[in-house]
Amino acid sequence: MPDVQLLVGTPKGAFILDGDPQRRDWSLRGPLCEGWPIHDLIVEPASGAILAAGGSPWYGPAVWRSEDGGTTWSHSSEGLSYGDGDGGTPIATVWSLATGPDGTVYAGVEPAGLFRSADGGRTWSHVEGLTNHPTRSSWQPGAGGLILHTIVPHPTDPRRVWVGISAVGVFETRDGGATWEPRNRGVRADFVPGPEPETGQCVHKFAMAADEPETLYQQNHCGQYRSTDGGLQWTDLSRNGVPSQFGFPLVTHPRDPSTFWVIPLTQPEDGRFMPDASAAVWRTTDRGETFTRGDTGLPQEDAYLSVLREAMARDTLDPVGITFGTKTGQLWHSSDEGESWRLVTGNLPEIWAVEAVVRD
């Protein structure tokens, strides 16, 4: 049976939990990446290498790479720059990573922009078409900064990529990054009066349905949404049983396009923790028409837990394993698709990112 690894990003470095095939016992390694703040971790499909996105307050942004399962690491930011023009706009940190069907590695950064690498993250080039979008002068940051936090490449067409920027919204390119179009129609921006804007929506996370590239699900500052046309139009799902419109993470099932998970949190003005201080992960199996609560094993009283946008992940086993990490350093795992939960470890730093990896 395959082993499962959990990759965890924190402000005090990356951590790796090596699990047994039953996903019950985990051993912790870290902090890795020299203790750098790590916002995202992925595995490069072709090589199995781990890539970690980060930025040091002292030494700037970089993408780390390990080809031996996290034992040794290299790092690079070659080309990861907007250049020296106009006094230079330093890139603070790398926030997000993804790989396209042609092996391209994408990196989203703060301040918001997209870079790509054709050599596994060793050198980078700026996707200028997004930075030069006509709406750019109106882009405003969310509380986490002006960040490109979500990258969703099309699974077979390397010319198509969707990105999410806070608090700007979703964009899509269909020509390999040369031009981009907003994909925010139908998404509310309750914090702005007047008619629905073209951009300015506060997307928190979105993900693609399994085997349905035109079906996207979104967790927004203002609700949960579904699109069945690649983001051209979104349908509001937030009155379908979830206890709050607000939340950060959203993950989709690896095989069932109708299933995804979210973690609703109270509104920002109310503290951003799990409603009623009662921990739960919510699952839909009908594309967001209804949601059910999964809380067995999770604390149901006095649980003022918050989960950030990249801090929930699923593996590809059957049944699917779901893992989430909290701002207070607890890592919870379910090996039955979110029905029941066990605490993996409780004393990590604030958890920014979780990725689950199945290794044969």
Partner: protein, 111 residues
Amino acid sequence: MATVLLPRSLLALFPGAERRNELAGDDVDSLITALDATTPGIRDRLVEEGPRLRRHINVFVDGQPADLSTPVGPTATVHVIPAVSGGEQRPAAWRTLAPWTGSPRGGSEES
């Protein structure tokens, strides 16, 4: 040749790099360029767009605060030291703003 002393946390990023380096250069910028020739990538860790020294990297030439353009004599001692101010969990105090936004960067993962 100037003597350039590098901090532990920077050396940890470049296996084989030495704390003490004897380098030729007229100013701090040229010394860092010389350092990058023997340790590729190290300039990116010390210098940000502008170009200028990263906000939380302090350089001293013979004990005096320096920037990239500070002249360096042939017998100078140059210390590269991470600033105490870099200890924030999130780099909320980075000085520059995106040129297309008038708002400061946030200090939290949340938005």
